[in-house]
């Protein structure tokens, strides 16, 4: 579903944010993307979603090259950015309709999905008011709803659990599992190792833009016997 081949991104010809990074994400997988601050996670996600252009390498989503067939590739992506403060003057329902129009979601389908996500996230009270009055968590929930409104094959989330209350975080994790179980894939960045441990089929760890590990957490723990996940992460990203 996601193909990232030898991708490099250099800013201002001086800072190498992502350095020859390659990985794959397959159908049905939940993949955690882990790395310390400034390791290149957000830059990677921005290239994957078409926001930034890679200087080298190829990126494909559902076999559509994000550079050569950007619109086709983007149609298959549902993306939640790290900052949910977007179009706050729109009402929740207006924002969802706008996104549905962009992804050409039929009206009967969108109505069912709006109602379902409202019930699940407890948004029923607020959907018809401007998002300006929403809390950070509520805005994040609307972004989740918007990202899923077209049932994307590839769901990409940048630090999705920040600001969510325990119930909503639990719901979001369940939704990620369900989405992957329905034959799609989920790729998300996180700092919370426990979340990755409980949720992910696979983790990709990067440090200073380079891949340091890609595989299952079980395998990672086997490679570093006797150490906690936290210790392994610190060791891998210490250099």
């Amino acid at each position: 579903m996601i193909k990232f081949d030898g991708v490099t991104k250099v800013f201002n010809n001086t800072v190498t944010a992502v350095d020859d990074l390659s990985f794959r994400v397959s159908k049905g997988e939940i993949v955690g993307f882990i790395g310390p601050n400034g390791s290149g996670k957000t830059t990677t996600i921005k290239m994957l979603t078409g926001i930034l252009k890679p200087d080298k390498g190829e990126i494909a989503v559902k076999d559509f090259d994000i550079q050569k067939q950007p619109l086709e590739a983007k149609k298959h992506i549902g993306y939640i950015a790290d900052n949910p403060d977007m179009f706050l003057r729109l009402k929740g329902v207006e924002f969802l309709n706008f996104i549905s129009d962009i992804y050409r979601v039929p009206v009967d389908v969108r109505k069912k999905r709006f109602t379902a996500v409202c019930d699940r996230f407890g948004l029923t009270e607020s959907l018809n008011s401007q998002m300006l009055g929403y809390s950070h968590g509520m805005r994040q929930k609307i972004m989740v709803a918007a990202a899923l409104v077209h049932n994307p094959d590839v769901w990409i989330l940048d630090e999705p659990l920040i600001g969510l209350d325990p119930k909503s975080a639990y719901e979001l994790k369940n939704m990620m599992r369900e989405h992957a179980a329905n034959g799609n894939c989920v790729f998300f960045s996180t700092h919370v190792l426990e979340v990755a441990e409980k949720l992910c089929d696979k983790v990709i760890i990067i440090n200073k833009g380079k891949l340091v590990y890609s595989g299952t957490l079980d395998n990672l723990e086997k490679l570093h016997k006797g150490k906690t996940l936290e210790e392994i992460f610190l060791e891998l990203t210490a250099k």
Binding site: M86, I102, S129, G133
Partner: protein, 560 residues
Amino acid sequence: MTNYITLLKIFLKTTEITPSEKKRSKLFYSLMGTAILMLIMLPAGALVGFVTYALSLAVLDAGGSTQAANIVLHIIAILSVIFGFNVIVNIFYFSNDIENLLPLPLKPHEIVGAKYTYSLLSENIMEFILTIGVCAGYMFASGFSVTGVIGSIIGILTVPILPLAYCGIISVVLMFLTHSIKNRDFLNKVTGAGTALLIIGALVALVGVNDFNAEAFAVSVTEGDSTFLNVMNIIFPQIPLLMSGINGSIVDLLIYLGVNVLALAVFLFIASKMYIKGVSDVNTAKTKKDVSDTQRAINRSKENGVLKSYIKKEFLILFRTPAFFMDCIAVNLLWPVFFAVIIILQGQTNFMSGVIESYMNGNVEMILFVTLGVIGISVVISAINSIASAGISREGRHFEFMMYIPVELKTQLHAKAIVSFVVSGSGMIIYIIAFNWYCLLTYGWVDDPIITFLMPFLHMLIALVSVIFASYFGLFMDTINPKLVWDDEINALRGNYNVFINTAVVLAAVGGVCVISLVLDRLINSGTALAVAILLITVLALMGMQVCLKKGEKNLMSIE
């Protein structure tokens, strides 16, 4: 005091060009700065100076002194309050830095004082220029003196203090008194509606004035019969004091300075007592929740095309964001006031009646001048409202949204340009209808269908073509170097050099069209000049579209 200065320095830094925005060279900014000064600021200052000079001559002849200059400065002060209020409310209460400032060990008057000074310095360049015009206009009429020059310099630097202090006091008191209203959008709507009403009120008042006569005006203000001047002298007492100081009274100049200091002291005292309460409530305020309507709203959902949906989104944000509404939408309401002032000041026996008579008689040269006027006004209106020239900058931090949605950038650019086209174009159509109606009222019906039907229709088309040029070209200018980092929405527009640069560039382009047409008018004939003017603006519009959609798209894709 140290905290105040530190805060002020930080606030002023936000208006500087960030390293990522330094794509253009220093030479480019220098050239554009000069162009802005030459094409926008100096003409505006010169116009105000000329009006002051002409009115002052009449008043001095009638035995008066500074009354005409007082009136012009009062009008500038009123405009300063109208536009400053929105800026002050946004910067004091709705900017993103509030949540970071409140937990710091800062006194309320330090925060408010620094924000006030920042607003004063960053928002009033135009007011400084206009005040220079007034002082120069008055001194040209009355004669230059050393005290006059010193007083003028003091006045130019300090005249905006009191109007902005009023804005500060009103906003602090309003936010304090309305702290129980847990709906900040209500406050935003009240602010926007109040300002729109003020502008419309000014227009209605001006329309009620018939047959302005300079001599009658001079006698009226000299004898103290002008209600406007008398009321304004009470509201802005510093203005007659300043002008009296410029006229030679050092005592009045000192009292003038004292009034400003007093106004600042009162404002800071009120702010120290009321600011924290008001701002805390803003930060806890929530918009109204509407449980019962949610399901109905979902059921009302309907499918729209991408372009239509994108345009709708742009309109909703423009109309619902107070800063955008004021600077992009409400500003268009000022033009009728401006035109009404020109028409009223000219009266039926002066310049305008001559223009109208010649136009209604089918004089081709006058038709050319009016057409050039239509082109110029259309472009200026589209550029000044900044809908297009800040179209990308307004996206701010969520500019990335434009990049990751599966919608071509060309479509998104079209949507933004169409919004500018609709607002500016509909305004122009209304103004052209109003102009033709005014011509019919003042001159009477003419049986020439070219004048009564064809020319208004043609002028509407030309206006729309001109608006297309300004909209697409303005949007293109903003794609080169959009201001995407801003703390509050007002900063996306007022602190955005692209708006000024675009205005200067499109004015230069239209100036070129006018010069070529006027040369042809002299060398060949008015008909040929008219045809060439229409052809040139059409070519500019097509080029503007092409440049915006092709190069603009490339510019957006290169933003990192």
